[in-house]
Protein backbone atom coordinates (compact mmCIF):
# COMPACT_ATOMS: atom_id res chain seq x y z
CA UNK A 1 0.00 0.00 0.00
CA UNK A 2 0.96 3.57 -0.40
CA UNK A 3 2.79 5.32 2.37
CA UNK A 4 1.17 8.63 1.63
CA UNK A 5 -2.13 7.66 3.20
CA UNK A 6 -0.95 7.15 6.75
CA UNK A 7 1.25 10.20 6.54
CA UNK A 8 -1.56 12.44 5.37
CA UNK A 9 -3.86 11.07 8.03
CA UNK A 10 -1.20 11.75 10.64
CA UNK A 11 -0.79 15.29 9.40
CA UNK A 12 -4.49 15.84 9.47
CA UNK A 13 -4.82 14.56 13.01
CA UNK A 14 -1.91 16.69 14.09
CA UNK A 15 -3.47 19.83 12.64
CA UNK A 16 -6.82 19.02 14.15
CA UNK A 17 -5.04 18.69 17.47
CA UNK A 18 -3.49 22.11 17.02
CA UNK A 19 -6.86 23.57 16.18
CA UNK A 20 -8.30 22.05 19.30
CA UNK A 21 -5.57 23.36 21.53
CA UNK A 22 -6.00 26.89 20.24
CA UNK A 23 -9.73 27.00 19.87
CA UNK A 24 -10.88 25.18 22.98
CA UNK A 25 -11.21 26.73 26.42
CA UNK A 26 -11.98 23.65 28.44
CA UNK A 27 -8.82 22.15 29.92
CA UNK A 28 -10.01 18.58 29.44
CA UNK A 29 -10.69 19.23 25.79
CA UNK A 30 -7.23 20.74 25.44
CA UNK A 31 -5.76 17.59 26.91
CA UNK A 32 -7.75 15.57 24.39
CA UNK A 33 -6.30 17.62 21.57
CA UNK A 34 -2.82 16.92 22.88
CA UNK A 35 -3.64 13.23 22.76
CA UNK A 36 -4.68 13.61 19.14
CA UNK A 37 -1.32 15.12 18.28
CA UNK A 38 0.59 12.40 20.07
CA UNK A 39 -1.35 9.76 18.22
CA UNK A 40 -0.66 11.44 14.93
CA UNK A 41 3.01 11.09 15.69
CA UNK A 42 2.50 7.44 16.47
CA UNK A 43 0.95 6.80 13.10
CA UNK A 44 3.98 8.35 11.49
CA UNK A 45 6.35 6.21 13.51
CA UNK A 46 4.57 2.98 12.68
CA UNK A 47 4.31 3.88 9.03
CA UNK A 48 8.01 4.58 8.77
CA UNK A 49 8.82 1.40 10.69
CA UNK A 50 7.36 -0.46 7.76
CA UNK A 51 9.38 1.52 5.27
CA UNK A 52 12.73 1.52 7.02
CA UNK A 53 12.85 -1.95 8.60
CA UNK A 54 10.67 -4.24 6.54
CA UNK A 55 10.98 -7.80 7.78
CA UNK A 56 13.90 -7.03 10.04
CA UNK A 57 14.33 -7.48 13.72
CA UNK A 58 14.84 -3.80 14.36
CA UNK A 59 11.65 -2.38 15.74
CA UNK A 60 12.67 1.16 16.64
CA UNK A 61 9.52 2.70 15.21
CA UNK A 62 7.28 0.49 17.25
CA UNK A 63 9.39 1.11 20.33
CA UNK A 64 9.06 4.83 19.96
CA UNK A 65 5.35 4.51 19.49
CA UNK A 66 5.11 2.32 22.59
CA UNK A 67 7.04 4.81 24.65
CA UNK A 68 4.90 7.64 23.41
CA UNK A 69 1.81 5.76 24.43
CA UNK A 70 3.31 5.23 27.87
CA UNK A 71 4.29 8.86 28.22
CA UNK A 72 0.90 9.98 26.98
CA UNK A 73 -0.78 7.86 29.62
CA UNK A 74 1.35 9.48 32.29
CA UNK A 75 0.58 12.88 30.84
CA UNK A 76 -3.15 12.27 30.92
CA UNK A 77 -2.97 11.09 34.50
CA UNK A 78 -1.08 14.09 35.75
CA UNK A 79 -2.92 16.49 33.49
CA UNK A 80 -6.31 15.39 34.69
CA UNK A 81 -5.13 15.57 38.27
CA UNK A 82 -4.11 19.16 37.67
CA UNK A 83 -7.47 19.88 36.09
CA UNK A 84 -9.26 18.41 39.11
CA UNK A 85 -7.17 20.51 41.42
CA UNK A 86 -7.91 23.58 39.36
CA UNK A 87 -11.60 22.79 39.41
CA UNK A 88 -11.55 22.42 43.16
CA UNK A 89 -9.78 25.66 43.76
CA UNK A 90 -11.30 27.83 41.06
CA UNK A 91 -14.56 26.08 40.22
CA UNK A 92 -13.68 26.33 36.58
CA UNK A 93 -11.84 24.30 34.02
CA UNK A 94 -11.49 27.11 31.51
CA UNK A 95 -7.86 27.64 30.66
CA UNK A 96 -8.58 31.32 30.00
CA UNK A 97 -9.60 31.84 33.60
CA UNK A 98 -6.43 30.38 35.03
CA UNK A 99 -4.18 33.27 34.24
CA UNK A 100 -2.88 34.09 37.67
CA UNK A 101 0.61 33.10 38.64
CA UNK A 102 -0.54 32.58 42.20
CA UNK A 103 -3.73 32.72 44.19
Amino acid sequence: MSLIGPLLLATFLFCVGIYGIIARRNAVLVLMSVELMLNAVNINLVAFQNVLFPGEEAVSGLMFALFIIGVAAAEVGVGLAIVFNMFRNRATVNVDDVDLMRW
Binding site: M1, L36, V93
Partner: protein, 210 residues
Protein backbone atom coordinates in the same frame (compact mmCIF):
# COMPACT_ATOMS: atom_id res chain seq x y z
CA UNK B 1 -5.05 0.40 -4.89
CA UNK B 2 -4.82 -2.86 -3.07
CA UNK B 3 -7.30 -4.25 -0.62
CA UNK B 4 -5.26 -2.84 2.20
CA UNK B 5 -5.54 0.62 0.67
CA UNK B 6 -9.30 0.40 0.63
CA UNK B 7 -9.43 -0.73 4.22
CA UNK B 8 -7.04 2.02 5.18
CA UNK B 9 -9.10 4.69 3.48
CA UNK B 10 -12.22 3.56 5.30
CA UNK B 11 -10.53 3.42 8.68
CA UNK B 12 -8.73 6.68 8.01
CA UNK B 13 -11.94 8.49 7.14
CA UNK B 14 -13.53 7.23 10.34
CA UNK B 15 -10.52 8.37 12.32
CA UNK B 16 -10.43 11.80 10.72
CA UNK B 17 -14.14 12.30 11.24
CA UNK B 18 -13.76 11.33 14.87
CA UNK B 19 -10.91 13.79 15.29
CA UNK B 20 -12.89 16.64 13.77
CA UNK B 21 -15.83 15.84 16.01
CA UNK B 22 -13.54 15.79 19.01
CA UNK B 23 -12.51 19.39 18.56
CA UNK B 24 -15.81 20.78 17.32
CA UNK B 25 -18.39 18.98 19.40
CA UNK B 26 -20.56 21.17 21.59
CA UNK B 27 -21.03 18.47 24.16
CA UNK B 28 -18.09 17.41 26.25
CA UNK B 29 -19.08 13.79 26.49
CA UNK B 30 -19.67 13.62 22.78
CA UNK B 31 -16.19 15.01 22.33
CA UNK B 32 -14.76 12.32 24.59
CA UNK B 33 -16.66 9.65 22.71
CA UNK B 34 -15.43 11.01 19.40
CA UNK B 35 -11.93 10.89 20.83
CA UNK B 36 -12.48 7.24 21.72
CA UNK B 37 -13.61 6.57 18.16
CA UNK B 38 -10.52 8.34 16.85
CA UNK B 39 -8.23 6.34 19.09
CA UNK B 40 -9.91 3.09 18.12
CA UNK B 41 -9.57 4.13 14.49
CA UNK B 42 -5.88 4.70 15.02
CA UNK B 43 -5.70 1.19 16.45
CA UNK B 44 -7.29 0.08 13.19
CA UNK B 45 -4.66 2.01 11.26
CA UNK B 46 -2.00 0.17 13.25
CA UNK B 47 -3.63 -3.10 12.32
CA UNK B 48 -3.57 -2.15 8.66
CA UNK B 49 0.09 -1.30 9.06
CA UNK B 50 0.70 -4.75 10.52
CA UNK B 51 1.55 -3.48 13.96
CA UNK B 52 -1.05 -5.57 15.74
CA UNK B 53 0.71 -5.59 19.09
CA UNK B 54 0.70 -1.83 19.04
CA UNK B 55 -2.93 -1.85 17.98
CA UNK B 56 -3.86 -3.89 21.03
CA UNK B 57 -1.78 -1.70 23.27
CA UNK B 58 -3.59 1.27 21.78
CA UNK B 59 -6.91 -0.37 22.61
CA UNK B 60 -5.98 -1.22 26.17
CA UNK B 61 -4.27 2.04 27.03
CA UNK B 62 -6.23 4.56 25.04
CA UNK B 63 -9.71 3.22 24.54
CA UNK B 64 -9.83 1.20 27.72
CA UNK B 65 -8.10 3.60 30.07
CA UNK B 66 -7.43 7.08 28.73
CA UNK B 67 -10.84 7.60 27.19
CA UNK B 68 -12.44 6.38 30.39
CA UNK B 69 -10.24 8.72 32.36
CA UNK B 70 -11.34 11.60 30.18
CA UNK B 71 -14.95 10.66 30.67
CA UNK B 72 -14.36 10.57 34.40
CA UNK B 73 -12.72 13.95 34.23
CA UNK B 74 -15.61 15.43 32.31
CA UNK B 75 -18.23 13.98 34.59
CA UNK B 76 -16.44 15.15 37.70
CA UNK B 77 -15.70 18.69 36.59
CA UNK B 78 -19.26 19.70 35.73
CA UNK B 79 -18.34 21.99 32.90
CA UNK B 80 -21.07 23.96 31.16
CA UNK B 81 -22.22 22.74 27.77
CA UNK B 82 -22.38 24.81 24.61
CA UNK B 83 -20.10 26.19 21.99
CA UNK B 84 -19.55 29.54 23.69
CA UNK B 85 -18.56 27.89 26.94
CA UNK B 86 -16.21 25.44 25.33
CA UNK B 87 -14.58 27.47 22.61
CA UNK B 88 -12.50 30.54 23.05
CA UNK B 89 -12.67 33.59 20.79
CA UNK B 90 -9.73 32.71 18.63
CA UNK B 91 -11.38 30.04 16.56
CA UNK B 92 -10.47 31.84 13.37
CA UNK B 93 -6.87 32.03 14.39
CA UNK B 94 -6.88 28.34 15.23
CA UNK B 95 -8.40 27.49 11.89
CA UNK B 96 -5.83 29.60 10.09
CA UNK B 97 -2.89 28.13 11.95
CA UNK B 98 -3.95 24.52 11.67
CA UNK B 99 -5.16 24.88 8.10
CA UNK B 100 -1.96 26.56 7.02
CA UNK B 101 0.13 23.99 8.78
CA UNK B 102 -1.83 21.19 7.16
CA UNK B 103 -1.38 22.65 3.70
CA UNK B 104 2.34 23.14 4.18
CA UNK B 105 2.98 19.78 5.77
CA UNK B 106 0.84 17.77 3.37
CA UNK B 107 2.50 19.45 0.39
CA UNK B 108 5.91 18.60 1.77
CA UNK B 109 4.87 15.03 2.51
CA UNK B 110 3.43 14.46 -0.89
CA UNK B 111 6.55 15.91 -2.48
CA UNK B 112 8.87 13.86 -0.36
CA UNK B 113 7.09 10.49 -0.04
CA UNK B 114 4.49 10.61 -2.77
CA UNK B 115 5.80 7.59 -4.58
CA UNK B 116 6.95 5.39 -1.69
CA UNK B 117 5.08 2.14 -1.45
CA UNK B 118 5.35 -0.61 1.11
CA UNK B 119 3.96 -3.72 -0.40
CA UNK B 120 5.63 -6.49 1.56
CA UNK B 121 4.61 -5.54 5.03
CA UNK B 122 5.53 -8.11 7.62
CA UNK B 123 5.03 -6.87 11.10
CA UNK B 124 7.44 -8.14 13.71
CA UNK B 125 6.26 -10.98 15.90
CA UNK B 126 5.56 -10.55 19.55
CA UNK B 127 8.80 -12.34 20.41
CA UNK B 128 10.80 -9.86 18.39
CA UNK B 129 9.12 -6.99 20.19
CA UNK B 130 9.72 -8.64 23.54
CA UNK B 131 13.38 -9.12 22.86
CA UNK B 132 13.69 -5.57 21.57
CA UNK B 133 12.10 -4.12 24.69
CA UNK B 134 14.05 -6.14 27.20
CA UNK B 135 17.39 -6.23 25.41
CA UNK B 136 17.92 -3.16 23.25
CA UNK B 137 15.47 -0.75 24.83
CA UNK B 138 15.61 -1.90 28.39
CA UNK B 139 16.97 1.37 29.79
CA UNK B 140 14.30 3.63 28.26
CA UNK B 141 11.75 1.03 29.26
CA UNK B 142 12.82 1.20 32.88
CA UNK B 143 12.84 4.97 32.68
CA UNK B 144 9.31 4.86 31.37
CA UNK B 145 8.36 2.67 34.32
CA UNK B 146 9.82 5.24 36.69
CA UNK B 147 7.99 7.99 34.84
CA UNK B 148 4.70 6.15 35.13
CA UNK B 149 5.27 5.52 38.82
CA UNK B 150 6.08 9.17 39.38
CA UNK B 151 3.03 10.17 37.40
CA UNK B 152 0.89 7.82 39.46
CA UNK B 153 2.11 9.26 42.73
CA UNK B 154 1.94 12.81 41.40
CA UNK B 155 -1.60 12.37 40.15
CA UNK B 156 -2.73 10.95 43.46
CA UNK B 157 -1.06 13.75 45.40
CA UNK B 158 -2.54 16.41 43.14
CA UNK B 159 -6.03 15.07 42.98
CA UNK B 160 -6.24 13.92 46.57
CA UNK B 161 -8.48 15.88 48.81
CA UNK B 162 -6.89 16.93 52.08
CA UNK B 163 -8.63 16.09 55.31
CA UNK B 164 -11.29 18.60 56.13
CA UNK B 165 -11.14 20.03 52.69
CA UNK B 166 -14.20 18.28 51.48
CA UNK B 167 -17.17 20.32 50.44
CA UNK B 168 -15.24 23.54 50.02
CA UNK B 169 -16.09 23.81 46.39
CA UNK B 170 -19.70 24.32 47.36
CA UNK B 171 -18.87 27.87 48.44
CA UNK B 172 -17.49 28.99 45.18
CA UNK B 173 -19.86 27.18 42.90
CA UNK B 174 -22.33 29.77 41.78
CA UNK B 175 -25.67 28.98 40.36
CA UNK B 176 -26.34 31.63 37.81
CA UNK B 177 -30.08 31.80 37.91
CA UNK B 178 -32.12 34.88 38.62
CA UNK B 179 -30.79 38.16 39.97
CA UNK B 180 -27.18 38.18 40.98
CA UNK B 181 -26.37 39.08 44.57
CA UNK B 182 -25.74 42.75 45.22
CA UNK B 183 -22.10 42.32 45.99
CA UNK B 184 -21.51 40.08 43.00
CA UNK B 185 -18.81 42.35 41.68
CA UNK B 186 -16.81 42.21 44.89
CA UNK B 187 -16.35 38.49 44.63
CA UNK B 188 -18.27 35.46 45.69
CA UNK B 189 -20.53 36.24 48.62
CA UNK B 190 -19.47 34.43 51.73
CA UNK B 191 -22.96 33.38 52.64
CA UNK B 192 -22.09 30.04 54.07
CA UNK B 193 -24.36 28.83 56.80
CA UNK B 194 -22.56 29.31 60.08
CA UNK B 195 -19.95 31.47 58.52
CA UNK B 196 -22.40 34.30 58.09
CA UNK B 197 -22.45 35.18 61.75
CA UNK B 198 -18.74 35.55 61.89
CA UNK B 199 -18.90 37.79 58.88
CA UNK B 200 -21.34 40.27 60.38
CA UNK B 201 -19.13 41.96 62.98
CA UNK B 202 -16.37 42.30 60.48
CA UNK B 203 -18.72 44.31 58.31
CA UNK B 204 -16.69 43.76 55.24
CA UNK B 205 -19.78 42.63 53.36
CA UNK B 206 -18.42 39.56 51.69
CA UNK B 207 -15.14 40.77 50.33
CA UNK B 208 -13.07 38.54 52.54
CA UNK B 209 -13.28 35.26 50.75
CA UNK B 210 -11.36 34.15 47.68
Amino acid sequence: MTGLDVVFVLVGLLTAAGAVLTVTSKNLVHAALALAVTLAGIAGVFLVLHADFLALVQLVVYVGAVAVLFLFGLMLTRAPIGREALDSQNRGLALAVSGGLFVVLSTLIVLAFGDVRVDAMTGPGIDVIGIAIFAVWVLPFELLSMLLLAALIGAIVLARREDGESGEEAEVTRIEVGDPPINESDGPPAEVAGDGQAELPAGSGGGGQA
